[in-house]
Amino acid sequence: MNVANIFSRRNRILLRELVITDFKLRYQGSILGYLWSLLKPLLLFFILYMVFVRFLRFGADVEHFAVYLLLGLVLWGFFTEATVQGMHAIVGRGDMIRKINFPKYIIVISSTISALINLVINLLVVFVFILINGVDIKPTILLLPFNILELYVLALAVAFFLSAVMVKYRDIGYVWEVILQGAFYATPIIYPLSMVLEYSPVAAKIMLLNPVAQIIQDSRYNTITRQTITTDSLIANPWAVAIPYIAILVLAAIAGIYFRKNSKYFAENI
């Protein structure tokens, strides 16, 4: 994968059209159309908020827990959407791949970009909630784009890997759904990390080595509340703090190599 090629003229044109097509097709035939990309996370948020915050009294010790929860859900929602769509991208465009030669990574990138657009729209809603909730806006909110960049790189790496595996083994689709389901609860999204910390500090530390947990907690720390427990506040060892970042880089390298090696044969194997 030559990085410069991503920006070649032909690839830019193709990427743009694929993103537009994806976006148009997404809510084809629905009355509310694009509104669903806002409504879906909001409705999910409403349910989880009622169950966990109102009913089970989660997060009483965290200020602005509702927005804290919403931001976590939106980021997790992006990760899910980008990896699942990216995973199906190559197989879904199989017909095209068999008929014309073009860089296959464009398809994976395009499918994650439409998830990224959704994320931006959702973050605007989060911002509205931040204002409504009277959250004290900190200068560190400027670091949020870097947190999102990190999450995007992670999602893209996962998408590359899964989409290539999917060509040979369709089982990965089901496997990944189960993994996501488990990871949703293994990541401190709907509950504050302090609950785990009370129970087992070691478990809390291990949980924060998960890149997604690190990103979500850092984002919350940067935008919503300093009460958020982040990887570097909980783990003292600077080497251990680097683990989530190193994990992403290693994963990206493996995914890139695996995708590149297999993409030559996508047309025959799909």
Binding site: I13, L25, G29, I97
Partner: protein, 407 residues
């Protein structure tokens, strides 16, 4: 690489690993874990193919279904990776393995134009500039804002084709694009072919339509079982191809004999057909211009007096080329014997080189009710050098000046 060369293919080999059973799942992983070789069969699709295409050449690739020619085209297009050998392409290349790649039925005609154009490397702006000419060429102005799924297949093909001809690359790969569309559309395709031929661009063309191959191609190769078996002038290569076809047809003919479809009220039965050349031999192959005879064997189960005998010669696309019967010349066959044959003798062979099928029938005197009518009775091949037209009738030529009228 020689600057006059557009494509060089050297010792190209390609093998597909075909799974015996298609498991795209964990079960396959288990099977493969225990036995690396089981479950796959290697199939050599291309075996040591080499050739060179010069710039500006209209180059034909012919071969039977499954011969490997489509795989070859896909390798040239960069869609499949090659195993061994090399392919060098000199210049920009656009493949048309199929028209309308990336078309989505849920999008409108307009949106599909942009998507399809992007695959050809055109930006939105460029497509907007070409938009009017695309739409008017496709003759679907009124439907551009409707979803593609509401288009007829003919409209879809016209739209796809109109976009495709915008491609400005040096080399075009065309695979059976002409297999779709009505006669009028095919004519448009042919006009386009003439145009690119004149423009001096390089074209690699795969088709089963030997007429088109002969008309347009400067050179052709024949692929059979993954090997290049002939290369040269289209006429010669097509001749080789027809020989391969007729050799395999004798085998197929024997299989088909038992399952001929008879239509009719009964009383007479058409049994088989033979083609006889000018030296009186039963053959599968006759030359253009050479006298030949079609002999139809039949039997009757009751005495039939007053009948019309007819034969039909159909071309490789099923088109009816000749359909003479005895009524047209008021030939009276008399009472048909219990067993017999009738003959239709052609004093010259008007058919152009190609593969033809025969049908024959015995009908009542008003040619409304068949006693028996059989399609696909036999196949035969015509060989020769003629290039234009399905049949040839010699006209009397002359040439005259026009008298200028004085105003």
């Amino acid at each position: 690489m020689n600057p006059d060369t557009a494509i060089t293919v050297t010792n190209l080999k390609k093998t597909f690993r075909l799974p015996h059973e298609q498991y795209s799942g964990a079960k396959q992983i288990f099977v493969n874990l225990f036995n690396q070789n089981r479950g796959f069969e290697a199939q050599r699709v291309l075996d040591d193919v080499s050739f060179e295409i010069k710039k500006g050449e209209f180059f034909g690739i012919i071969g039977r279904n499954g011969s490997g020619k489509s795989t070859l085209l896909k390798i040239l297009a960069g869609i499949y990776a090659l195993d061994e050998g090399s392919v060098h392409v000199n210049g920009s290349l656009t493949p048309f393995i199929e028209l309308g790649v990336g078309f989505n039925p849920e999008l409108t005609g307009r949106e599909n134009i942009y998507m399809n154009g992007a695959l050809l490397g055109f930006s939105r702006k460029e497509m907007e500039r070409m938009y009017d000419s695309i739409v008017s060429f496709a003759e679907i102005e009124k439907f551009m804002d409707q979803k593609l799924k509401n288009y007829s297949s003919g409209m879809q093909v016209r739209l796809a084709f109109s976009i495709a001809i915008q491609a400005k690359s040096d080399i075009l790969l065309l695979d059976e694009v002409l297999a779709v569309g009505d006669a009028l559309f095919q004519q448009k395709c042919y006009d386009y072919f003439e145009e690119i031929k004149r423009s001096g661009r390089t074209v690699v063309f795969i088709s089963h339509d030997m007429g088109a191959i002969q008309t347009f191609c400067d050179r052709a190769i024949l692929i059979e079982k993954g090997k290049k078996v002939a290369e040269g002038k289209p006429v010669e290569v097509i001749q080789e191809y027809n020989e391969i076809l007729s050799a395999s047809d004798t085998f197929r003919q024997e299989l088909e004999d038992t399952s001929l479809l008879h239509i009719g009220v009964g009383g007479a039965e058409v049994l088989r057909a033979e083609v006889i050349n000018s030296s009186g031999k039963v053959v599968k192959k006759v030359s253009e211009g050479e006298p030949f005879t079609v002999r139809i064997h039949y039997r009757t189960s009751k005495a039939i007096t007053g009948s019309v005998l007819g034969i039909g010669i159909m071309g490789d696309r099923g088109q009816s080329i000749l359909g003479p019967n005895t009524k047209e010349v008021s030939f009276d066959a008399g009472t048909l014997p219990e067993r017999g044959f009738f003959e239709a003798k052609f004093s010259t062979n008007p058919l152009s080189p190609g593969t033809y099928t025969l049908r024959a029938g015995i009908l009542n005197t008003s040619v409304t009710i068949p006693y028996d009518l059989v399609e696909n009775l036999a196949k035969f091949t015509v060989v020769g050098n003629r290039r234009y037209g399905d049949i040839y009738i010699e006209p009397a030529w002359s040439n005259h000046p026009t008298e200028a009228k004085k105003q």
